[in-house]
Subunit: 317 residues, 2 copies
DNA sequence: AAACATTAGTGCCAGAATGGCACCAATAAA
DNA sequence: TTTATTGGTGCCATTCTGGCACTAATGTTT
């Protein structure tokens, strides 16, 4: 380990806000960070961090060093990247982050095939519905529902994601079939809910073309698509689901779309996100493979929902 | 050692044109270079050098990496430099190169005093009349006679350097005192001569203000000022000497200036040269100390030559 | 207040990396 | 042909790294 690496380590420490988190990020012991930062200070002959036993703050010198460290990291990444352009065959480590559902159902098949074709590429995929900072955590590629805000990243739309309102036939028999959006308010709903996002209403476009929100009554909440599906299949709730929940193998036979005449806007599309720079060969190839698998024009999940093209469309005049 | 260091090592290898020279520059074994370049290639997954057993050439990838390595080195130097600005006391290694005479007579006293004041600063001085590439060899400061051409460096004039024509009284008694410049042609001369430079004529300004060259007849040539002086003090040659040859302790008593009415232009001044960027504290302080020692207005060597102000001046009208 | 958890820092130690030496192979120079 | 120089490799002592266990200090929770 030498000066540049130590500077980048300092940068990570500052980005993470603690020695421990930085160590976790690198999967190394905290003590290593402590020692290396110490060495860096000795090397530069300057105190970089004012430590209190449980936290730290940057000194003026430290702040300057962190800025330079960011430049160094960028330049170094750029250099390595440049070298990778000379690779004929992709190699190295591909780090992906995605929501669990996308990862399990749409990326794992791609990964399995990809690694057969390119055994030299290692893959690390973090499935987590929490959105992470790709840059500081070092991810090459993210798959997300909804366009991310971070402008230092490139977001590329992979596939549209229609919205569906579904229930089982037995549910309809039991509770009666809703005829209007308002009817949904009185029916038990299963609804996606995570620490960041809760579905408590359905967005739709009314007869006059105005966007509306129809509140629902969630009796079951989960962040797990399978759990929601299981609940619905027990005939005790309807649910509003984005189409990408219907991956291959999902039992859609029992499910009946409700209120199919209503105009539901597409839910946030599925995006691939990557840093704003030239992609290494492995990343570009993987992205292509994923796009191909999910479907260039018609998303793969729509294959499992017959007639989806006609559902929830704007009313033809 | 990690990627950045290895890249910089590659850069040095390319700059030096060989593994061996690069190793010599760092005072490490050749094998280390060989191994580290190998690791770098493995790391980047790209062949950087096409080797023939006795030399090498850059691959396209290698050439790109070298460019990036130069950026990295610069940025890293800049970063370390920035840290040094926070030093209250100067520390670290100060690397100086100078001609032998300047080093021995005008820098050693400064260094000795400087290290008493700042014991934390190590000094390495290379005395060599050959001009070296400061950047690639890593020197902080050079002292040279004559303005260097390299525009990536800053040259700062330290002191003027008048020209003198001298001989001993016994020489004059033996050979007769020259009355005109032309008379010098027939007298035996001791003349500075190195692999790069030979004095074979004296430049002067004639009565009409035109620059002229008076050829001389060197019977003794050396690149060593003391040797030239010794020759002259044996009363068998006159010599044309820049004033900075007359350091403290040099026996000037026996020497008589000849043709003092002739207008001799100043010889190339003494310059301090340093890289075109902010100087570390130690370098700036040393430069100040050297300038102070040599003399801000009147060069130190002129103190040993009484009446020099009046010698070899343009003719007062 | 007291117990607890989390933070940075340190000493110790096994394992990895470094760098020097000796030697080899190939090629250019003498 | 001989010699010298260059890059490359295997071996080995030394150094460095990174993990573990433990300490000290400071918020947090009970």
């Amino acid at each position: 380990m030498d000066t540049t690496s130590r500077l980048i380590m300092l940068l990570e420490v500052v980005e993470q806000g603690s020695f421990s988190k930085a160590a976790e990020l690198r999967n190394i012991d905290r003590s290593v960070i402590s020692k290396q930062i110490g060495k860096l200070e000795e090397e530069l002959g300057v105190r970089l961090l004012n430590r209190t036993t449980r936290s730290f703050s940057l000194t003026a010198a430290g702040a300057e060093m962190v800025k330079k460290a960011a430049d160094l990291r960028l330049l170094l990444q750029d250099t390595v990247q440049l070298a990778e352009n000379y690779h004929q065959e992709p190699r190295g480590l591909l780090r992906i982050t995605a929501s669990s559902y996308i990862g399990q159902h749409y990326l794992m098949p791609v990964i399995n095939d990809f690694q057969k074709r390119f055994p030299q590429v290692s893959v690390e995929i973090r499935m987590d519905d929490r959105v992470v900072d790709m840059i500081s955590e070092g991810y090459d590629l993210a798959f997300r529902v909804g366009e991310p805000r971070d402008s230092s990243l490139v977001a590329r739309k992979i596939a549209r994601n229609k919205m569906l309102i579904l229930a089982t036939q037995r549910f309809i028999d039991t509770y009666g079939e809703p005829k209007t959006m308002a009817d949904l308010a009185d029916l038990p709903a299963a609804s996606y809910s995570s620490s960041h996002l809760r579905f408590e209403a359905i967005s739709y476009i009314d007869e006059n073309g105005k966007p509306q929100e129809q509140p629902i009554t969630p009796v079951f909440r989960s962040n797990d698509a399978e759990a929601l599906m299981s609940k619905v299949l027990s005939h005790t709730a309807f649910f509003t689901a984005p189409a990408f929940f219907f991956a291959d193998g999902v039992d859609t036979e029992q499910l009946v779309p409700l209120l199919t005449h209503v105009n539901l806007p597409d839910y946030s599309a599925v995006y691939a996100v990557y840093p704003h720079r030239d992609l290494p060969v492995r990343t570009r190839l993987f992205l292509d493979a994923a796009r191909h698998y999910i479907g260039e024009h018609k998303p793969r999940w729509e294959l499992n929902i017959p007639g989806i093209e006609q559902l929830y469309q704007p009313k033809a005049k």
